[in-house]
Structure formats: C-alpha cells, structure tokens
Amino acid sequence: MRRAITGVLTAALLLAGIVAVRRATPDADAKYAPIASVGEMGEQVNTAAFQLRVDRVQLARSVRLEDAYGLLGQPKSTAGVWVVVWATVAATTEEVTVQGARLRTADGAEYLASSVSGTLDKTALAPGMPSYGPILFEVPPGRLAGAALEVTVHSVKSLDHLGPAAAVDLRLSGPYTKALIEQAPASLTVGPVRDL
C-alpha cells in the first residue's frame, strides 16, 4: 500500500514538474524577440545598431507636415488621435533606418508608425550623424494610457529576430493622458527631420 502511494505521489510530482517546465518555456515569439534596451523619456537608450532619445510627445486631432523647405502639406485627419513622438536617433556603426517604430498599448496592442513619409522612422541614418524629428502614430484615444514606444530597424517583425531594439516608457499615466487628449489641438504643424 505504501509503495503504491509513493508511486502515485512521485508520478504526480513528475507530472507537475513537466507542466511547470512547459509553462515556463518561452514560446517562439519570446525566444526570438528583439534584444531590447529599456529606457525612459529624455534618457539615451543604447542598442547595438542605434542610439535613441525620446524628447517629447504631442497629441493632435489632425497634423500638417512641413518639409525642409518650409512648405506645408495637406492636413491629415485620423479616426483616433495623432501621437507625435519627437526623438533623436543616431546609427552606431552602420547605416540604419528605424523602420520598426511601434506604440505598444497597455493591453498589448501594437500600432506601427504611420506611413506618412518624411518622418524620422523613414530617414536613413548614418553613423556619427544624428537626426532629430517626429515619428507619427494613429491610436484610438481610449487605448493610449500606459503606451510605450518600441523601436527596431525593420517594419516586418520577423526580420528583427534577436535584433537590436529600444523600449521607452512614454510616461503616459491615465490622468496625464486624459489631460493631453482633452487639450489636443485640432491641427498641429509637424516640422521636418533635422540633421544635428
């Protein structure tokens, strides 16, 4: 009788161990996720391929892009709200473009940067020549609180496997985000990317 109980307990323990190991094992997405350097607003985040500093965040109901010659584009509206992230980026050793700029909301949803051209995420960056400019996102206002910026060098996620990445907390707390949305201007003029 005792031997049977010992056998059952051992089997149960082994089973529990197997379940625990299976649960603890990361899935393919986690295994091959980009290697992220984490930082805060205003802080320089260093990755193997680029350095990033997020300087400020603006919200607007519509945006107009100004090019390097001071010419204004047509207003661009959105079903949500425009999030304009101003950042400085520099390539480290090779030319890169930080095409994989995403806003990850608190519920895990990801918003790839807008396809609007002339923004920082569409700019080729060379080592030793930092650029400052906007990255634009369209996000439903209700999902913005707690959002963080994630930046990689490819817009297609599978190309970023184990690649460099920067993750920056945008400090969008609930009350602060609510105030930002309420005060968001109907139209915001967004300047061009500048070489620093």
Partner: protein
C-alpha cells in the same frame, strides 16, 4: 580500473560535444554571414599596393575631399565632410573580364574609419565635379550595354561619401564582391 575507462569516456565526450556543436552551428553561421554581407575570402592591399582578388587587381587611387558644387543645393549635415574615392580595377583573367559585364557581378564600395564605422555611397550627384568615371564595378560599351572589360584594361570607379569630419582622416575602402562572397580592403 573503472576510473581509467571513465576517463576515456570523459575525453571522448569532451571531443564529441564540441564537434557536434560545430557541425550544427557552423553551416548556419556561414549562411548568416553570407546573408548579412559578411564572411567569404578577404584580400588586403596596403598603402600604395594593389590587391588581387577573383582574378582582378584592385588599387585605391585616391581619397580626396569634395565640396557641394551647387551653392543653392541642400547643405551638408553639420560637422561632416565629402570624401571622393577613386578605385582602379584591372581584370587579369578571362573569367574576371566577363564579371564586369555580368548582371550578377556586382560590388558594393564602402568606406570605414578607424573606429569601425561604415558609410555607403551618397546618392547626391552634386558633391563632386563631373568626372565621367564609372559609379560601380560594371563596364558599359558605346551603346550603354553591359560588356566584359578586356583583360589588362583598367576600369576607374569613383564613389562619393558624406562622413563625419572626425572620420575623414582615417578612412579606408572596403569592397564587398558578389556573387561569390568576398571582401577587398584597400588601405590609403
């Protein structure tokens, strides 16, 4: 004498495990390097010397500073210089001669500095005087069609780069050759 037998097992494992790991990893590493534009054979030419690679003689002729030719053109980024690189290529074999006229026979000419930073050619056409030199490693005939470069004849290639001013002094040239992967390094 069990320990002696165990010792042999242990030594066997010590040899087999790294060999098995190498057999698994090395082919992938090679594929990754090819995909990433690294790896393959290398040739280095010291100052004033020529390198021989894939039946071609590669020679760095000059790295000089350029200036925007049009005063109304977009200014250069702050604290940068224009580097004009001129490289001479001379096929030494029939196979190398054909490479200059082949669609797949290409090269990427980049500059690197002492810190290991690299820059690709600028697409701006106003950073150097018009030279009539080839912009890359291909040869064209009078009808602007790709054509083999006769053995012994030199093709002069000019490429232009915008680099940080502090990198200019230590620039060297790196040519990545395809389709058979390899790198030619030309030191000034």
């Amino acid at each position: 004498m069990n320990w002696k037998r165990d010792l042999w097992y242990g030594l066997g494992l010590l040899a087999l495990v790294p060999a098995a790991l190498a057999a698994q990893v090395l082919p992938w590493r090679e594929r990754y390097e090819t995909l990433a534009g690294k790896g393959g054979r290398e040739a280095v030419a010291a100052h004033g010397q020529a390198a021989r690679f894939n039946g071609i003689e590669w020679r760095l002729k000059s790295i000089t500073e350029g200036r925007p030719q049009d005063p109304t053109a977009r200014p250069l980024p702050p604290r940068t210089k224009v580097a004009i690189v001129v490289v001479g290529l001379r096929p030494l074999t029939e196979q190398a001669s054909k490479w200059f006229g082949a669609m797949g026979g290409t090269c990427k000419i980049r500059v690197t500095d002492a810190a290991g930073r690299t820059w690709g050619p600028s697409i701006r056409g106003d950073l150097a005087p018009k030279s009539g030199l080839s912009p890359s490693c291909f040869n064209m005939d009078a009808d602007f069609k790709l054509a083999p470069l006769p053995v012994g004849r030199e093709l002069t290639v000019q490429t232009v780069y915008v680099v940080p001013a502090d990198a200019f002094r230590t620039l060297r040239v790196e040519v990545r050759v395809a389709p058979e992967p390899g790198t030619v390094r030309l030191l000034p």
